[in-house]
Point group: C2
């Protein structure tokens, strides 16, 4: 469903150049659940941003469903992201002036799918244990509740590809397991493809395979017991 | 060093009232390392905000070094927080327009201790593995690097009491262990008092005792192997 071919990404800051990703290639099949691990600063979030078409690589290319993406216009990229991708960012990125419900519905509003999303938003909120907090704004929620709002927002349009950066980082172990089971179930029953960055070895075991990054390159790949 | 006596905290939102904390009492001795655990939404961050004198309880009182705090003026509270307390928030709260170094030095600038903090900031940055990133702004750092900047900022004034909300949530296990060892060492060698909220049972084992919250009350207290 998505592949990265020899991608590199650099950040220039004054006289320094940071090599966040170095000649990295990766191929992810439809309905696969892939975990990405690695030390802090090893390029995990940068990789997720490039696979999510939120930024472009300095070298190499990204193909989504066989289509090269570097030749697409900004508008075409926006439609592709909106219709096919769901994001769970490391820093939530909720809109502070909107309620939890409005944050969750936003991708559906933008895609013109408000009607069918209304029912889905209540089902997902129940599943994630935040149905009682839908009228709260982000500042009126606990850290873990905000993360669950961000997860619900990513799932509202039933996306083909979900990019999740530390989805269980702020959650207690039982809430975290519910989220992982929801993602796992989505992969098996709805055919979702999930790419999840995590520091938690137990969370990574929910995936089909684990990719470990180090200094912007793939250090190793292992299959989990799921596979 | 700090005690909470029968504290309650409510949030009113429209017609709803949320009881975040209910008649909770707690006594923490100087140079003690206490972990606070509990499900998402159980009141951990709210407790930390009240102990950090960032908010006041609806009922009950908080005493710091034997002194009642609810009768203090805003200025007196600000000086007390500045000189005695260090905070590591769940959502970092770094100032986006300042570099990592400027964010770390800020509490020292405000307290007029810039000279001695200059050396300390370099030592702490080395220890936390962010010495190479001091000129970066928060948006130019990875999630884990931002968290380490927030930790360095909390330690810069050698505070008597450190309030940490999920300090290792965004860190890989080896970086997380370095942070926990740093806190543990500070308690034993510098006499710090640390109150740490965490979901991670392994992190909680670094503390002397573990307090578990449920629905705004203390469900249980256990001593760890450290003690
Ligand atoms: N400003 C606020 N307005 C309304 N409700 C709030 C506010 N802040 C917190 N709450 C509610 O109070 C309860 C306790 O929140 P708190 O942030 O203390 O939880 P927590 O234990 O830190 O959870 P987490 O593990 O998810 O961070 C939650 O149910 C939350 O919805
Ligand atoms: N906008 C930017 N400008 C400059 N450097 C950046 C920028 N974004 C990331 N970096 C650097 O690129 C490297 C990779 O960052 P990335 O966010 O991908 O790490 P990560 O593996 O997600 O780490 P963590 O586990 O801490 O979240 C880091 O060393 C970081 O300092
Ligand atoms: Mg990251
Ligand atoms: Mg919290």
């Amino acid at each position: 469903i998505i592949s990265a071919n020899h991608i590199s990404k650099r950040f220039v800051l004054g006289s320094e150049t940071i090599h966040a990703l170095n000649d990295l290639s990766l191929d992810i099949k439809r309905s696969e659940f892939v975990a990405v691990m690695g030390p802090s600063g090893s390029g995990k979030s940068t990789l997720l941003h490039l696979l999510g078409l939120l930024d472009t690589p300095d070298e190499g290319s990204i193909e989504l469903e066989g289509q090269a993406t570097q030749t697409l216009t900004d508008d075409e990229l926006t439609y592709l992201r909106r219709d096919k991708l769901g994001f769970i960012f490391q820093t939530f990125e909720l809109i502070p002036t909107l309620t939890a419900k409005e944050n969750i519905m936003l991708p559906a509003e933008v895609a013109g799918k408000r009607q069918e999303a209304e029912v889905r938003s209540r089902e997902i909120a129940e599943l994630l244990g935040i149905a009682e907090r839908l009228n709260h704004k982000p500042s009126e929620l606990s850290g873990g509740q905000r993360q669950r709002v961000a997860i619900a927002r990513a799932l509202i349009n039933d996306p083909a590809l979900i990019l999740a950066d530390e989805p269980t980082g702020n959650l207690d172990s039982s809430t975290g397991e519910e989220v992982l089971e929801l993602l796992r179930k989505g992969v098996i029953e709805q055919g979702w493809t999930v790419i999840m960055v995590t520091h938690d070895a137990k969370a990574a075991e929910y995936a089909d395979r684990i990719i470990r990054l180090k200094d912007g390159q793939i250090e190793s790949e292992t299959r989990t017991a799921m596979n």
